[in-house]
Amino acid sequence: MRLLAVALAVALSEAPSNERAMGMLRDWVRFVDEHTAGETDAALDSLTAWTFDDLELMQAYVEALAEVPLNTQTRDARRRQITGIDLAEIKERTKDLQRRGDVDRFRKRAVILHTDAAILGAAPVVVDAPVPRQQRPAWARGEPEARVDVKSFDGRVDRFERANPNWQYSMSLLESLPAAPRRDPFVARWYRAVGAYFANERSYADAVRHFERALLVVPDDPLVLYGEACLQETLGAPRIQNYVRVTTLPNGLVIRDVSSPQTHLRRAESLLRKALAADSHFVEANLRLGRVLTQLKRYEEAFPYLQAAIADSRDRTVTYYAHLFSGDAALALGRLPDSRLSYEIAVALYPDSQASRLGLAAALRAAGDRPAALAAMARTLTKPAASRDSDDPWWDYYLGDATNVERLIQELWEPLRSRKP
């Protein structure tokens, strides 16, 4: 055992330096220093000129430089591939950063560099549908597998894209920030803002991994809990469930991460309850918990949360949603006057909104007043479709936190625009 250990150490120290990787690492430090947060500048262009394979090669080097904790097997295995000579140089460079006195700021700027590379950088890498490992020739089965995401629109498969490794960089680099005595608030801000970005892009594959990591790193942040709850609500919604149910992917591929509607809705419920435990006046969390409970057909339970949202909301759209969902819950329970009243308030808030008018028509029709039901629908149904894109906030409901995305990303960029604090 002792002999083996010695032999291994010798082998490591004698392994040649990966000159190319070390050169790229020196460039990377320069990119971090020179990039202006939120701008497409030369540093960002240089980084995005790296291929995804380059990025995957470099991840271990960057993690070593930033001193990302070796708390996963994957990360540990990656780190072992760096030779002793290179590791020694990386340690020296880390000390240089520490001597500069802004190592945490550097780490945050590195997070932003990779976030910007994913958001503002080169076009996505479109690939063929991957072939599952067991269908590959024997010699190719051991090759590492990059994650591939399926992109679709209106329930149709559009293309396959390779997952962008810049997100993994950002999440890893965040772990290099101090966790004790308290987590740097930048971490929660980043998870919320990028979660909103994924929601806005409807990039659920990225969002699932994003929030899995978030729950490990910032498990009690109400805004992050809320962001994941929105994601779970969306995954449980008919739009995703229907798509997954009927979509057949080539090569026997299957869509991952989507469970039954009840599973996702119950996860959303649990996350929203945690968020409300931290902040009982969190208006949007009350709203969404009410909605999730109606989706779980627990209508009676939903009302207090929807009422709380109505009472606390200062936002017309949130109030609209709360009345819309109250109308649906009351209709499901056969409380037709209550349903009608809720829908009427929703109509008053957004007079051209389709959802509120169809809901009102359903309530009126169930009460036996067909002429009034038809009249309620008429205004929206006869308006030219092309002019109605922004008539109804309902169409954006499943974007969740995405309505705040621009502000949240700006708030992320603003304090890190310059290299100096």
Partner: protein, 281 residues
């Protein structure tokens, strides 16, 4: 509930015009649209009231009227015009709609509801045969699919007028954008006498449409992507026209709640398709 015939026994056999029944009024008459076919799925003609028997919650009922091909039709079309229905599929839909409207009789009416994310009513129920063609010529498929919202609007339009009501729903996909819960529309189906015939492309067979077709006494048709949509549309219209309309006044059953219906025909080999029941009250 079924369309409640408040004063119509007097108008039996002629028309069911000008009824504005409501759920809150008492059910005095029930109409049941029935398809009777032989072993080769061809409509059986020439049946009279004596050939039919009907049980409402297990209680035999006296049939007041059986009509066949005498009542004008309200043909509602609810078409998915979302992004995926572009190019050849839209051309098929236009050709199929033209073929369908050409088969309508004087007195029949048609309406068109279109839906993507947005639900529109370009053609209210009328005898205007050109409206559907013009609306589809002007259509530009876009956005996502509010299938449930579109079907809800289609049923509302279809059931709100006189005559027998058929709703043909075409969609090549699944719901991605609706607000209305599918359970609410299924509940409406239990209370409506609109017969729904969904037409979907292979692979997209929403449970919701299948259930709605079954509840209303219709039938779901699946077509190949390159299939003859016009032939399917014509076949549905022909089948619907050759259905019987049975009318009876429920007796010895409570008016509220779900009423299970059993319709039978005393001809050997006859196959009967009708709605499984209706919601009273």
């Amino acid at each position: 509930m079924m369309r409640a015939i408040v004063t119509l026994a007097a108008a039996a056999g002629t028309s069911l015009v000008a009824m504005q029944p409501t759920f809150s009024t008492r059910v005095e008459g029930v109409r049941v649209d029935v398809l009777v076919t032989d072993g080769s799925r061809r409509p059986l003609r020439g049946l009279t009231a004596a050939d039919f028997s009907i049980r409402d919650n297990g209680v035999p009922q006296q049939i007041d009227l059986v009509s066949f091909g005498e009542t004008s039709l309200n043909v509602g079309l609810a078409f998915d015009l979302s992004e995926s229905v572009g190019g050849a599929r839209l051309d098929q839909l236009k050709a199929a709609s033209a073929a369908l409207t050409a088969e309508l009789h004087p007195g029949d009416q048609s309406a068109l509801v279109t839906f993507d994310t947005v639900v529109s009513l370009p053609c209210p129920l009328s005898a205007n045969r050109l409206c559907v063609r013009d609306a589809l010529d002007a259509a530009t498929p876009a956005r996502e699919t509010a299938l449930v919202d579109g079907v809800f609007a289609g049923m509302m339009i279809g059931e709100s007028d006189a005559g027998r009501s058929l709703l043909m729903v075409f969609s090549d996909g699944l719901d991605t954008a609706s607000f209305i819960d599918s359970d609410r529309v299924l509940e409406m189906g239990r209370r409506s006498d609109v017969v729904v015939y969904p037409i979907t492309t292979k692979g997209a067979r929403p449970d919701f449409l299948e259930e709605l077709a079954s509840l209303t006494g219709g039938r779901l048709h699946e077509v190949e992507a390159s299939g003859d949509l016009a032939a399917t549309f014509r076949a549905i219209l022909d089948e619907f026209r050759h259905r019987y309309l049975i009318t009876y006044a429920p007796k010895n059953v409570p008016k509220d709640g779900w009423h299970k219906l059993e319709v039978k025909v005393s001809r050997s080999g006859a196959r009967v398709k009708a709605r499984p029941g209706y919601q009273g009250g």
